[in-house]
């Protein structure tokens, strides 16, 4: 298995799917000549030409809607948002058009398209550029929502997303592009809606997704040194969500911490907790705790930003609390 960056894993997925199906095209701001704001589309213009790697004006609503129209009549657009923060301008097309088209049309019009781009906070980008949107998007029936945390999952999930005939929201971690990991050689597909147990332990479950999967794995390594062994359940896709994998883990460990990058109120984690209380009520030895961003817009100052973000320290504290060790 080759060790590649998250960025290169995404590029591999794009290249392979562009080669596989000539209905697939990529559009977005700076994806072609500039090689992508985050270089995910590097080299693709040269290989596939300007009809399939399409630079757009800064017009998120316009090109998201344009993608919807192209998908309605049989193309397979990949719409890149330079970041998901900009995608708010386009949400009408994602939510009102793409997500509902199949249903409103009584099954006549499929939406084989992907909306992708970086999601979540990077470093000191301030309030408008540091947000995790998965709970907003996972709320919508008709959408699928992927949140890969590792290069292997990034590649495998993106390939599945492009082949899926439903609209898929693909949330990449802005801080993950340079992270490295093993990616299986050859055709590598990760099915949508299947979680992965990334660490195994009996003492507590940490259920997470996206960039926080890396934090959870670090937490697992640190706690192991203290003799505490945790399950890390990486959801990978938050819609559809793998409830069985959550239940399986919590029924084994009897304790759970739910870790996410976004805010507390109506966050992904509250949905996970709901599944746990329904599926594992008699299994729980402690209340489930959540770790998430503090309930504030993201501040700029380094120390404040650090304080606002969920991290390994906060997660370790939560695990110890549900184990009654603090």
């Amino acid at each position: 298995m080759a060790v590649v960056t998250y960025r290169d894993a995404l590029t591999q997925a794009l290249r392979e799917e562009l080669q596989r199906d000539d209905r697939v095209f990529l559009m977005g701001e700076e994806v072609a000549q500039y090689n992508g704001a985050y270089k995910v589309s590097k080299g693709l213009l040269d290989e596939f030409g300007p009809m399939r790697i399409v630079d757009t004006p800064i017009t998120e609503l316009g090109f998201a809607g344009l993608g919807v129209g192209a998908a309605m009549v049989g193309l397979r657009p990949i719409v890149e948002f330079m970041t998901w923060n900009f995608a708010l301008l386009a949400l009408d097309e994602v939510v009102n058009a793409a997500a509902k088209m199949l249903y409103m049309s009584g099954g006549q019009y499929k939406m084989p398209m992907v909306f992708r781009g970086p999601n979540g906070a990077a470093l000191q980008l301030g309030a408008q550029h540091s947000q995790a949107w998965e709970s907003w998007l996972a709320h919508i029936p008709g959408l699928k929502v992927c949140t890969p945390g590792t290069p292997a999952d990034a590649k495998g999930l993106l390939k599945s997303a492009i082949r899926d005939d439903n609209p898929v929201v693909f949330l990449e971690g802005e801080m993950l592009y340079n992270t490295k990991g093993e990616v299986p050689d050859g055709e590598h597909i990760v099915p949508l809606g299947v979680a992965e147990l990334k660490r195994e332990g009996d003492h507590c479950s940490v259920i997470t997704h996206g960039k926080m999967a890396l934090v959870a794995m670090r937490v697992a390594d640190d706690l192991a040194k203290e003799g505490i062994n945790i399950d890390v359940v990486d959801l990978r896709t938050v819609r559809p969500i793998d409830v069985e994998a959550i239940a399986r883990s919590v029924q084994k460990t009897n304790r759970a911490v739910v870790l996410e990058e976004g805010w507390e109120i109506c966050g992904m984690g509250s949905q996970v907790v709901d599944f746990i209380q329904r599926e594992c009520f008699d299994d729980l030895d402690a209340p489930v705790l959540r770790v998430h961003q503090e309930d504030v817009p993201m501040p700029y100052a380094k120390n404040l930003e650090r304080a606002a973000k969920p991290d390994a320290g906060k997660t370790i504290a939560a695990v110890k609390k549900v184990m009654y060790l603090d």
């Binding site: 199906d21 209905r23 095209f25 009809m51 757009t56 004006p57 017009t59 609503l61 316009g62 090109f63 998201a64 809607g65 344009l66 993608g67 919807v68 129209g69 192209a70 998908a71 309605m72 009549v73 049989g74 193309l75 397979r76 657009p77 009408d92 097309e93 009102n96 058009a97 088209m101 199949l102 249903y103 409103m104 049309s105 009584g106 099954g107 006549q108 019009y109 499929k110 084989p112 029936p141 008709g142 699928k144 599945s160 492009i162 082949r163 899926d164 005939d165 439903n166």
Partner: protein, 359 residues
């Protein structure tokens, strides 16, 4: 190729008095007499317009009786546009529209039975009862909906145009919307993309002068909505939307431009809505006067066509009545079909949220 937006002779003053209604196209240049149509085509045009009228009269009845729920936006008064446009395009062309969509669906050839059944919320409707009045879709006729967010579908039309170009096809995509949509960002973003990328889309502003209950003079800084074509280096023209022949002639020019030059067009079709915005507002008395309504109803598009045909002497009154009776019979048949159709089974609640298919 001219990039100048063509306009009919301008009304006397550019800036109208606030609240003064805009003309409904009566001052637009007339179509060349009957615009080269044959008697057979003229009969079809009359039939299409009468079918929409008679069908929607039954819709209003169905709403009053509680057979149709939710929002119901009638197209009555604007039928020359749908009929004129659809009579000029090919079966493999595409049509997308907003929520005032029944008339356009019928003019496109969508089954009246299936449309009425959709309005009644029945399993046999175009979307199996899941769409409703605002969301008529029909893949068989490339009728891409029925969209309920003002302006939201205009970029989608650009996407259809993009797909046509991507495949090197020579179809066109027709996109209908009201004049109120020209103030929405989505409209501007779509026009910019369509012109920038040479997409074969014909954007049709159905200017019925009211966005819901707000007159254009109260919503739009420059009432000359066609000026927006210029802003995007797009050809455009303004036509009398009550004259089906004028609609057809403008479409012929736009279609040629789309198929041969791969260029989009913006057309303002000036018309008037004879009914309220939906079924919940009074036809007149709140935001427009009875006098204004009655004045405009004198230019009923069906009457305009009828008079032209009658003057030419090719159809007797008896034959005209027969066409009207046929339209009424189709509307009745659609009603009977819808009324007799079953509601969608509850197990369909969860179908079509997702498809299981992959490529």
């Amino acid at each position: 190729m001219s990039t100048e937006a063509k306009r009919p002779p301008a009304p006397a003053q550019k800036q109208k008095e606030k609240g003064e209604p805009r003309d409904n196209g009566a001052d637009a240049p007339p179509a060349s007499e009957l615009a080269g149509t044959t008697p057979e085509i003229r009969r079809e045009l009359l039939h299409s317009m009468l079918l929409q009228r008679r069908f929607e009269e039954r819709c209003a009845e169905g709403y009053a009786l509680g057979k149709i729920g939710g929002f119901l936006h009638l197209y009555i008064g604007q039928e020359a546009i749908s009929t004129g446009v659809m009579s000029m395009i090919r079966p493999d062309d595409y049509v997308i529209t907003a929520y005032r969509d029944h008339g356009q669906a019928l003019a496109r050839g969508v089954s009246p039975r299936a449309v009425m059944a959709e309005l009644f919320g029945r399993d046999t409707g175009t979307s199996g009862g899941k769409g409703g009045s605002m969301h008529i879709f029909d893949a068989k006729t490339n009728f891409l909906g029925g969209h309920g967010i003002v302006g939201g579908h205009v970029p989608i039309a650009a996407g259809v145009g993009f797909a046509i170009k991507y495949r090197r096809g020579n179809q066109v995509c027709i996109c209908f919307f009201g004049e109120a949509a020209v103030n929405i960002g989505a409209f501007h973003e779509a026009l910019n993309l369509a012109s920038l990328w040479d997409l074969p889309v014909i954007f049709i502003i159905e200017n019925n002068r009211y966005g819901m209950g707000t007159a254009i003079s109260r919503s739009t800084a420059n009432e000359d909505v066609l000026i927006r074509a210029k802003g995007y280096r797009m050809d455009g023209e303004s036509v009398d939307g009550q004259d089906v022949f004028a609609v057809r002639e403008s479409m012929a020019r736009a279609i040629e431009r789309a198929r041969k030059e791969k260029r989009p067009t913006l057309i303002e079709m000036r018309t008037y809505r004879f009914m309220g915005h939906s079924m919940s507002d009074a036809v007149s008395g709140t935001y427009r006067t009875k006098d204004e309504l009655e004045e405009n109803m004198k230019r009923d598009p069906i009457l305009v066509l009828h008079n032209k045909i009658y003057e030419s002497g090719e159809l007797s009154e008896g034959e005209m009545s027969k066409i009207d009776d046929e339209a009424k019979a189709i509307a009745q048949d659609a009603w009977d079909f819808a009324d007799a159709s079953p509601e969608p089974p509850l197990e369909k609640l969860y179908t079509d949220v997702y498809t299981d298919t992959t490529s």
